[in-house]
C-alpha cells in the first residue's frame, strides 16, 4: 500500500480533476478496478490483440498528466496487466503515452483523433513508436466506445460520470 502524492502542480487539465477523487488515494484500492476493466475490455474484443502483432507483450506507461500516478498497461491476452503505479516508482517501459485526462478519454471514447492530438502537442509519445501505433490501431478498431463499456460496468453512476466528462470535453473543445 502506498499513499500517492497530490496532483502535480503542472496539471494541465483542471476540468477533469473536479470529477476525480481527491488525493491521497491508496493505489491498492484502484488495482482490482483496473484489473476488472482490462479483463472486461479484452474479453469483449478478443480480435483487437491481432493488431498488436509482436507488441502484445510490450509495456506501456500511460501518463495522464492530471493524475498523481501513472498507468502501466501490458496488452498481452495471456498475461494482461493494467495497474496504477506511483510516479516515483514508474517502471521501465517500451513506450510512454502522455496527455491530459479528457484528451486520453476522447481517444478511448472514439471521439478524438490521435494524430490531431499529436499535431496540437496535447499528446506526446516516446519510446517504441511502432508499439504505440499498433496499440492505437488496435484500440481504434473497437466498435463503439471503450469508455462507454467501462462506464456501463459501473451502472448509472458510471454512465452519469461519463456524461459529465463528455460535457467537460465538449466545453474544452469549444
Amino acid at each position: 500500500m502506498e499513499p500517492v502524492t497530490p496532483y502535480p502542480p503542472t496539471d494541465d487539465n483542471a476540468r477533469a480533476r473536479t470529477f476525480l477523487p481527491a488525493p491521497p488515494l491508496p493505489l491498492f484500492l484502484l488495482q482490482p478496478v483496473l484489473r476488472r476493466i482490462v479483463t472486461r475490455i479484452a474479453s469483449q474484443n478478443p480480435d483487437m490483440f491481432n493488431r498488436l502483432g509482436p507488441h502484445k507483450s510490450a509495456n506501456f506507461i500511460i501518463d495522464v498528466t492530471s493524475l498523481p500516478f501513472v498507468l502501466h498497461l501490458r496488452p498481452d491476452p495471456e498475461d494482461l496487466l493494467f495497474r496504477a503505479v506511483a510516479r516515483s516508482r514508474k517502471p521501465e517501459a517500451d513506450a510512454e503515452i502522455r496527455g491530459g485526462f479528457l484528451d486520453l478519454l476522447g481517444l478511448v471514447d472514439g471521439d478524438a483523433d490521435g494524430d490531431a492530438l499529436f499535431f496540437s502537442r496535447d499528446l506526446t509519445i516516446t519510446g517504441n513508436t511502432e508499439a504505440v501505433v499498433c496499440l492505437r490501431n488496435a484500440l481504434d478498431d473497437v466498435d463503439g466506445s471503450i469508455a462507454q463499456s467501462v462506464a456501463d460496468m459501473f451502472g448509472p453512476p458510471g454512465r452519469a460520470m461519463l456524461s459529465a466528462l463528455r460535457r467537460a470535453s465538449a466545453r474544452k473543445k469549444s
Binding site: 494524430d115 506526446t124 511502432e130 492505437r136
Partner: protein
C-alpha cells in the same frame, strides 16, 4: 451536374463501418502487406475482415475500392497478383493501381472489375492518362495534387475516363510514386514496401522544457518548441539547418493539410467525378468528422444551396490548411 462520388479512407473494419455510416459513396482500403501505400503496423485488413467489410458496405450501397498501389519489385510479383485475385474473389468494386505490370495483370485476368489509376502513378497529362486508358482500360484517374482547377477542367475535356481529385488530408506535392527519401534513410521503400517513415525507425524525444525532436533513423528531421504545433515524421515535411539560412528551413514541404472545402463547387463544375479524402492511417473520429462534413457540403451543392463549411482545422497536420496548387500555381 451528376453528383460526385465521395471516396473515403478506411484503415480498419471499424473505420470502414464509420465511413459507410457517415455517408461515403465509396471506401478505399488495403491488405496487411506491401501491396498498398499505407502498409503501417496494426493497420489494414485481413482477407476475412475485408470479406465481411465488403458485405456490410454493399448492403448499405457503398462501393469498396482496393488499393494495390505500390510497385512490385522484380521477382516478387506473386504477392501483388495474389492480392488482385483475392480482391476479385471477395467482390471489390475496383482496384486502385500504380504499376503497369499490375494494371496489365488485372486487365488480362479480371477485365470486368474497374481499374482506377492511383495518384502513385503520377499521371498528370492528357497524353499519359490516355495511354493508361488505351492500354489497360483504366476507368478513372486520381490526379496528382499539382494541378489548378482550370487545368483539371482542361484535362477533363481531353481524356476518356473519370477524374478523381483529393479534397482533404495529406498534402504531398512530391512526384508521387517516385519519392525515395524514406528509402534513402531507412532502407524501406515507400513505393515497394508501402511504408513512408516506418514507425519502427521513428523516435520522439521530449526534453525538460517540453521541446520535441523527431528523428527518423539517425537523422533529426525537426524540433518543435513547446508551444509549436507538430507534423508527421516524414522527411519531406522536415525542417533543416543550412548555412544559407538563420533558422530551420522546410526544404521540401511544410506540415500542412489540403482542404478544398471552398473549392468544391468549382471542382464539381470542372467535371470531377469523384472527391477523395486522404487518411487511411487516421482514426474513426477523423473519418466520422471529415466524411460527414464533406457529405453535407456535396449534398448542399447538389441541392443548389451554399455548402456548409465545417471547421476541420483541428484535424489538419500542423493545424494548418491550404488549397495548394488547386487554387494557384504560386503556392510555395
Amino acid at each position: 451536374m451528376r453528383p460526385p462520388e465521395l471516396v473515403c479512407p478506411a484503415g480498419t473494419p471499424a473505420a470502414m463501418r464509420t465511413a459507410v455510416e457517415a455517408g461515403a459513396d465509396a471506401v478505399y482500403c488495403g491488405f496487411q502487406n506491401a501491396t498498398n501505400a499505407r502498409n503501417f503496423p496494426g493497420l489494414n485488413f485481413t482477407p476475412g475482415e475485408l470479406e465481411r467489410a465488403i458485405r456490410h458496405a454493399h448492403e448499405n450501397g457503398t462501393k469498396v475500392l482496393l488499393a494495390i498501389n505500390t510497385f512490385p519489385p522484380a521477382g516478387k510479383v506473386d504477392l501483388w497478383r495474389d492480392a488482385v485475385d483475392l480482391g476479385a474473389r471477395l467482390g471489390v468494386d475496383a482496384y486502385i493501381v500504380a504499376d503497369i505490370g499490375v494494371a496489365d495483370y488485372i486487365a488480362r485476368n479480371h477485365p470486368d472489375i474497374r481499374l482506377h489509376l492511383s495518384v502513385q502513378a503520377a499521371a498528370s497529362s492528357p497524353e499519359a492518362i490516355k495511354w493508361y486508358c488505351r492500354e489497360f482500360g483504366v476507368k478513372r484517374v486520381v490526379l496528382p495534387r499539382i494541378l489548378t482547377v482550370s487545368e483539371i477542367k482542361a484535362i477533363a475535356r481531353e481524356i476518356p475516363c473519370e477524374i478523381e481529385t483529393f479534397i482533404f488530408g495529406n498534402h504531398g506535392l512530391m512526384v508521387e510514386g517516385r519519392c525515395s527519401l524514406t528509402n534513402y534513410i531507412t532502407g524501406q521503400s515507400t513505393n515497394y514496401d508501402g511504408v513512408c517513415s516506418p514507425a519502427a525507425d521513428v523516435e520522439y524525444r521530449r526534453d525538460e522544457e517540453g521541446n520535441l525532436s523527431t528523428r527518423l533513423g539517425d537523422f533529426t528531421i525537426d524540433c518543435f518548441s513547446c508551444n509549436e504545433t507538430a507534423g508527421y515524421p516524414t522527411i519531406c515535411k522536415g525542417r533543416y539547418l543550412t548555412p544559407a539560412r538563420n533558422e530551420g528551413y522546410y526544404a521540401f514541404e511544410e506540415p500542412i493539410s489540403l482542404n478544398l472545402s471552398s473549392l468544391l463547387p468549382d471542382l464539381m463544375a470542372a467535371g470531377v467525378n469523384a472527391l477523395k479524402i486522404e487518411g487511411r492511417q487516421r482514426s474513426r473520429a477523423y473519418v466520422k468528422n471529415v466524411v460527414s462534413s464533406f457529405r453535407k457540403a456535396v449534398d448542399a451543392i447538389m441541392a443548389g444551396e451554399e455548402p456548409p463549411l465545417a471547421d476541420l482545422i483541428a484535424l489538419t497536420e500542423g493545424q494548418k490548411q491550404t488549397e495548394g496548387a488547386f487554387k494557384s500555381k504560386t503556392w510555395r
